[in-house]
């Protein structure tokens, strides 16, 4: 650059007259440009400074009426049944209503329909819809809309990720406007637990799905007003919300991609609510204006072992891994304490005892003896898949596991991929072991039948099944008696840990940051926003 300058400059000031006109034309222009830029700069900076005093109170007063919820990314989907991103679920849970709702204990309760009457053979579920429930466009929500929505979800052309919720459904009928009858192919005690999911929220039957992608139309606590890509989504109060008066006049989901930026926005009061995964970030947000509510999760972090891959086919090998790992250590050092150690099932009514497994705490001697039984007393080499993009502590957890297994001679190769590549390998079952964060459910069948029954959609991923498990899972949904079911799922849980199908690590915590101006907010498990509609802002 500077060498070019040396060549150019003398030319510009060459004393010979023939080049002079060129200089004379270009010079004043350049001067005008520089001067113009300088003036503009000064003006902009001045405007910036003077504006700072005026704009702040304005912004403050407007946030009094609008509840601002900070999210880190633009929601990627707008149709309930294809929505999988956390942000989409958060936003859509405020716009739409599923058939049932859930209480603070995650148990399904009446929503736009009462809890169903189940026929004695367990095959027919009859729902009665509440009267007066309306969509944002003013039309009534009736049984035709429910039939239409569920039909859409079951239609492969809709590409619904929630289609699997209806795997056991034979038919959905709408005998009269307030009644919905669902008939199952076989008894399924887990069926009702899925009906409070945002992914099967009811959409209007007379509005095209295409138009829902740009103008969502539901019966939830808030109604869609406007969306600016990569910036915000604004909703307004639904005056006819079936469950009661909605707390805030407006609700804005504001996109602030950076966590530290979010902390600053919370502290200055421009954002009222946000959810953090990291306890460290949450701590920096804590101030006299911001309170932090830690909440537990139904999700779980797990070291998935694929018994189907040769290196892990011996049960003693897998048990050695279970015994060599201190779950407490994984939580405390990799996840910075943000979790609780766990057994397989997280569903509140069926929860596994975290200590009910062959090695409840780290036991290196036992691990060694299992290794000897497996015929590999000096250990072996294990490939472990993890991802940088899925969740914050995934790589740290893999490295912690690597260090712990190293103590008994198991050499772990950590393979770190970006989330897309990881998901592809994970879905294909193309790994020996993987660190994963999997979704939980209020029903243990929903949680694990897909992984550990030989016909489950994720059995290839789980890499483990047995005739005993197939039979237990079938029994689990065939009976409706809760006590009987609890006994069955306890057996399933034992089967899983005794065979060390996977090594279950912990359920993560999330941290909800709430501005002190917000009242009536109920923190729920998994930072679910089911009760956000009660929150108001002063």
């Amino acid at each position: 650059m500077s060498s070019a300058a040396h060549v150019e400059t003398p030319q510009a000031h060459h004393p010979f007259p023939q080049e002079a006109p060129v200089i004379k034309v270009s010079r004043p222009r350049r001067r005008a440009l520089v001067a113009g830029a300088a003036v503009a700069a000064t003006a902009l900076l001045l405007a910036g400074c003077s504006g700072s005093n005026k704009a702040a109170p304005n912004a403050g007063s407007s946030s009094n009426k609008t509840l601002v919820f900070g999210i880190t990314a633009d929601p990627t989907q707008m149709v309930p049944w294809t929505s999988t991103s956390a942000q989409s679920i958060q936003v859509l849970s405020q716009i739409y209503s599923p058939l049932l709702s859930s209480n603070a204990q995650n148990v399904p309760v009446a929503g736009i329909a009462d809890l169903p009457k189940v026929s004695s053979d367990g095959l027919t579920y009859t729902f009665t819809l509440k009267k007066g429930v309306k969509f944002a466009d003013g039309s009534a929500l009736d049984s035709a809309d429910v039939k239409y929505t569920y039909g859409k979800i079951m239609d492969p052309a809709s590409k619904a990720s929630s289609a699997s919720f209806f795997a056991s459904v034979a038919s959905v009928e709408a005998p009269d406007p307030q009644t919905v009858t669902i008939t199952l192919k076989h008894p399924d005690a887990s069926f009702v637990s899925a009906l409070d999911s945002v992914n099967i929220s009811i959409v209007p039957s007379d509005v095209s799905v295409d138009s829902l992608t740009t103008k969502p139309d539901g019966s939830g606590p808030y109604q869609f007003v406007t969306r600016t890509a990569n910036e915000s989504i604004t909703l307004k109060r639904n005056p006819d919300y079936y469950a009661g008066k909605v707390g805030a006049a407006k609700l804005e989901f504001r996109i602030i991609p950076d966590d530290q930026s979010m902390v600053s926005a919370l502290k200055t009061g421009s954002v009222d609510l946000a959810v953090f995964a990291s306890p460290v970030t949450a701590k920096t947000a804590t101030s006299n204006k911001v309170k932090i509510d830690p909440v537990g999760s139904l999700q779980y972090h797990v070291l998935q072992l694929r018994a189907a891959s040769p290196v892990l086919s011996n049960v003693n090998t897998r048990l050695a891994i279970q015994c060599a790992i201190s779950r407490k250590d994984v939580v405390n050092s990799a996840a910075l304490g943000a979790g609780d150690i766990m057994g397989p099932i997280t569903s509140p009514q069926f929860k596994s005892d975290p200590n009910d497994q062959p090695c409840p705490t780290q036991d290196l001697a036992k691990a060694k003896s299992y290794l000897a039984k497996a015929g590999t007393p000096d250990g072996f080499t294990l490939n472990l898949l993890t991802s940088t993009g899925l969740y914050a502590s995934a790589v740290d957890e893999a490295q912690n596991v690597q260090a712990q297994l190293g103590k008994v001679g198991i050499k772990v190769n950590v393979q770190t991929l970006d989330s897309n590549a990881y998901v592809q390998k994970w879905l294909a079952g193309d790994f020996d072991a993987a660190i994963a964060q999997n979704g939980g459910s209020t029903d243990p069948n929903t949680m694990y039948a897909r992984y550990f029954t030989s016909t489950g959609s994720y059995n290839k991923v789980a890499g483990y099944s047995s005739p005993e498990l197939d039979q237990l899972f079938a029994q689990g949904i065939a009976t409706t008696d809760t006590a009987d079911r609890k006994a069955i799922y306890k057996k399933i849980s034992e089967q899983l840990v005794d065979n060390a199908a996977w090594v279950w690590l912990f359920t993560p915590k999330s941290y909800i940051a709430v501005n002190t101006g917000v009242s009536g907010f109920e923190a729920r498990t998994d930072a679910s926003l089911t009760a956000l509609w009660k929150a108001s802002i002063s």
Binding site: Q77, A163, S264, V423
Partner: protein, 325 residues
């Protein structure tokens, strides 16, 4: 005369042809790179839930996203769309890439202009100071300062400054919803202040170095000595004769920096929640929205190439020597 014109036309035609080939190359490279990376739009939007999809659903999705067609057909149909003004639609925001860019590009442009201004305002006066007595304390201090400014990663500086302002002054305009310059100039300029400052700080060192070197070189020129001998006052000599000439390479360099900033200052946009072109590309990458990434990159590349092309053509008009070549 006629012959000269033919030659000139020929050169111009060649230059335009080169520009088009460059853009074609960029588009092919982007297309290939996107597809070499594992994963596709289905895994990106469904994540692990993609495992719940039935084969019929996956087929339907592949048809929907156009993934079932051969690569060459995918490329040509995208290119055909671009040539007929259809740059594709984002499945995330349901806006056309043209609409998205119309929203994001002005923000990126504004940020780029402000950053360059900050860089110049910081860099040029310091260069004058440093060049006054090379090797003396002010010079050494500015050298140290510029080294420091260059080595601090901008994301660190940005986060630290933002956190500090929020904690001490309770001032963090970027937490408010983004306002465009037209909607609310006051708020907009506050929101642009921090990112422009952070980016400007990283632009200032090269500006300073370029200007300093140029000032020193020009000061040694014969015409300066002549002017001084003719009794031109020192201040006038410094500013009108030396500095103004020294600014020419600075302007060239600022233009280059500006070109890079047009591609989107991703880190600043991400941290300070500025909805610019950089975040548009990132969103497209994360969601594997091939059309969004390809078209946005093509738009950025086109601007870059156009600016270069125009500069070349203007040289031809302004400088007879180039015209002859």
């Amino acid at each position: 005369m006629n012959r000269v014109r033919v030659v000139a036309q020929h050169a111009v035609t060649r230059r335009v042809g080169e520009a088009i080939l460059t853009l074609l190359g960029v588009s092919i490279l982007t297309f290939v790179l996107l597809r070499v990376v594992p994963g596709n739009q289905i895994t990106a939007s469904y994540g692990t839930a993609a495992g719940e999809l039935s084969p019929a659903q996956i087929q339907s999705l592949e048809a929907y996203y156009g993934l079932d067609k051969p690569l060459i057909v995918q490329y040509l149909s995208w290119l055909g769309g671009v040539l007929t003004g259809n740059l594709g639609v984002s499945a995330t925001s349901h806006l056309s890439v043209l609409q998205m860019t119309a929203q994001s590009l002005p923000n990126t442009l504004e940020l780029a202009v402000l950053s360059i201004i900050v860089g110049l305002v910081l860099g040029v006066p310091l260069a004058v100071l440093a060049a006054r007595r090379p090797g003396k304390t002010p010079d050494n201090l500015t050298q140290l300062g510029s080294l420091l400014a260059l080595s601090i990663p901008s994301f660190l500086l940005a986060t630290a400054v933002a956190g500090w302002l929020a904690n001490t002054l309770g001032w963090y305009p970027n937490g408010e919803g983004f306002a465009t310059l037209i909607e609310n100039p006051g708020l907009n300029l506050q929101q642009m202040l921090l990112p422009a400052l952070v980016l400007g700080i990283s632009i200032a060192p090269p500006v300073l170095q370029t200007a300093r070197t140029a000032i020193l070189a020009i000061r040694a020129e014969d015409f300066v000595r002549t002017a001084r001998a003719k009794g031109v006052p020192e201040r006038r000599l410094q500013f009108r004769h030396i500095l103004r000439n020294a600014l020419i390479p600075v302007v060239t360099m600022s233009g280059l920096q500006f070109g890079f900033l047009l591609g989107g200052a991703l880190v600043a946009e991400q941290i300070f929640a500025i909805p610019g072109v950089g975040r548009q590309v990132l969103l497209g990458l994360n969601q594997k929205e091939y059309a969004v990434v390809q078209s946005t990159v093509l738009i950025i590349a086109t601007m870059f190439v156009l600016v270069n092309l125009l500069t070349d053509l203007i040289y031809r008009v302004v400088d007879p020597k180039v015209r002859v070549r």
